[in-house]
Symmetry: C2
Subunit: 369 residues, 2 copies
């Protein structure tokens, strides 16, 4: 995964098989590759690891045929898979701790190299909100930023439309052959001219409700900062802003009347310390100095590499599992309370995850499913 | 001027004569009383001091007849003059460095003893702005705060109306017999039931444009904090918020859409660090702890008492005047550059002021007129 190197076709196929296998998310992918020394070895080790984690039924491992079929379909649609660490992979996104190992990119990969600002907001946006999002996207585009958003109705679409000429990135919650909402198919087409559509999901994947929050981490992860234009309480845009904070991104919010429910979310972000935005310069002033710096690692500490021979002994595995329950606990606490080494604890958690028994939360918290 | 003591009728008459004399403002009043040892002695010294300051024509000293007439008229209208240091004088206002020596109060002086929040904003307020001001004033009233404002159209009137029952204070820019705007005569009447109208201006004084900014320092000075609800750029409400900052008061602002010109002033205050308000609790949370503390002196350092025999010698006076010009300079710089003692510099400035040749600015800056 060193910078600038491209995967061979065989390696890309291995990566795809691994990330499309049951219970393997971006974090598990990374842990497996580190532990086993590569994707192919990880694929071979999967069934045994899952069994040791107590899998009740065998977890499906993606077949080479299925992976080959997906690669072919992606190529046919003009959405090749870019791997983490390859030159076309978006630089900032690569630094989040759950960066997708493979990203299907349709359109101009050059747009992904521009500094990005995410603009997100309400689907049922007000006319003023839409107008403001357009103005902001246009002015940020003129200042050299690409605009990232989620292709949704309202604010998202307004931000994309106003930055078609300067570069705009739409992050999809489903596969490239399932544009959502369907009426934005034309907009998606137009985006590919100077910008790009990106997705971590397989071709043929129809987005479900829970795919959208997951997708939102990519919108914030791509960008140096995110601007929330209009947002009600408990809205998707606020989820994106939470991801942004976890990822160490700048959070901006547009103020609105306290009597407007669409401003409740943004005013609340401002109370929590988001930077107030009334014009593009408010964003540019904060981001310019950041862009000059080397891209920082995400706030979370990188994990130490797996010790290849980290094997739980005696009742170590049972002791660690006993400490887990439905309430999220921190991995640090597990290490402290179990008396096992961090490498052993991570090994046991990986096994549990592959067995479909573990849930990972933000801030290095885990719980049993 | 010790706390809790009341002036005799004679003393009140002396105070009134002094503050109503030409070129005597609240700061000069204080300096004169300190220098001469009392208002009566100051009145006697006035002509000589003004002559030494280079008065070209004799400055008018208010006659005892005129002062008696004003006292009588104020009493007849039920607006007696409360002196700085008397128990009924508003506590916080007493701490600003240009507190009026006499304040004509009509209505319930008890309202002046409540903790106060100022609510100010645009005269051409939006319906939403008016509704928000009403809600805020009502909720702050229920929490035990009196509301101070300027009796203007729009936000001011809305704030007063919604706090009639809990206590509201209107600060006038003219005399008590010149309610402005005239259509708020009924509102002014209603305010006296549980609240008060206050003015530092003489009876019969019709407010001119420049009296409003001057009046605004009293609105912020009365209150522990000020909330700006809607305000365009360069509006009177922003002047009040500047006074509030100089006086060490908390500044709050209500956010609005960047596309609404009436939110330009408030959004700009928020960018400068004002506390964002969407509900009364945002104000109460900040002010509650402050109310528990003893009322603090204003940020400006109190002047050392005048040395009674501080008389400029030789060419000291000329040297100090030479250092002055139309550009405001700090009194500290004058002391440093003139080589004279602070007491001498203040003496010369007092003389110049009484001669009508000196202008005082915020932050202890002075210039020649």
């Amino acid at each position: 995964m060193s910078e600038g190197v491209r995967l061979t076709d065989e390696q890309r196929l291995d990566w795809l098989c691994l990330i499309r296998s049951d219970n393997v998310g971006p974090r598990t992918f990374r842990a497996l590759v580190n532990h086993c020394g590569g994707a192919r070895a990880a694929l071979a080790a999967l069934p045994d690891l899952a069994r040791r984690g107590g899998a009740t039924r065998s977890a499906r491992v993606c077949s080479r045929q299925d992976a080959e079929r997906e690669l072919k379909a992606a190529k046919a649609l003009g959405a090749p898979l870019v791997a983490l660490g390859e030159p076309d992979y978006p630089q900032r996104l690569a630094m989040i701790d759950d960066a997708p190992p493979l990203l299907a990119v349709r359109g101009k990969t050059a747009a992904l190299a521009l500094p990005m600002v995410a603009i997100v907001g309400a689907r049922n946006a007000s006319a003023a909100g839409v107008r403001f999002a357009e103005r902001l996207a246009r002015n940020l585009g003129q200042a050299g930023f690409a605009i990232a958003s989620g292709l949704a109705r309202g604010i998202d679409a307004a931000a994309h439309r106003a930055s078609l000429a300067s570069g705009t990135i739409a992050v999809l919650a489903g596969g490239h052959d399932h544009i959502y909402p369907p009426e934005h198919a034309d907009l998606a087409e137009a985006i590919t001219a100077q910008g790009a559509l990106v997705s971590e999901m397989p071709m043929g994947w129809e987005p479900r409700a829970r795919d959208f929050p997951r997708r939102n981490r990519l919108i914030s992860g791509l960008a140096a900062g995110i601007v929330v234009v209009e947002a009600a309480k408990r809205s998707g845009s606020l989820i994106t802003s939470r991801f942004a904070l976890e990822q160490g991104r700048e959070v901006f919010a547009v103020p609105g009347s306290p009597l407007d429910p669409r401003a409740e979310g943004t005013n609340s972000l401002l109370k929590q310390g988001a930077t107030l935005v009334t014009e593009a310069d408010d964003v540019i002033t904060v981001l310019r100095p950041i862009l000059g710096q080397p891209i920082e690692l995400s706030a979370e500490e990188p994990e130490a590499p797996f010790t290849p021979d980290a094997e739980p002994r005696g009742n170590e595995r049972a002791r660690i599992i006993d400490l887990l329950g439905p309430t999220p606990v921190s991995i640090d606490d597990l290490v402290r309370l179990s008396g096992s080494s961090p490498a052993i604890v991570r090994m046991v958690l990986l096994e549990l995850e592959l067995a479909g028994r573990l849930e990972r939360h933000g801030g290095a918290l885990v719980s049993l499913r």
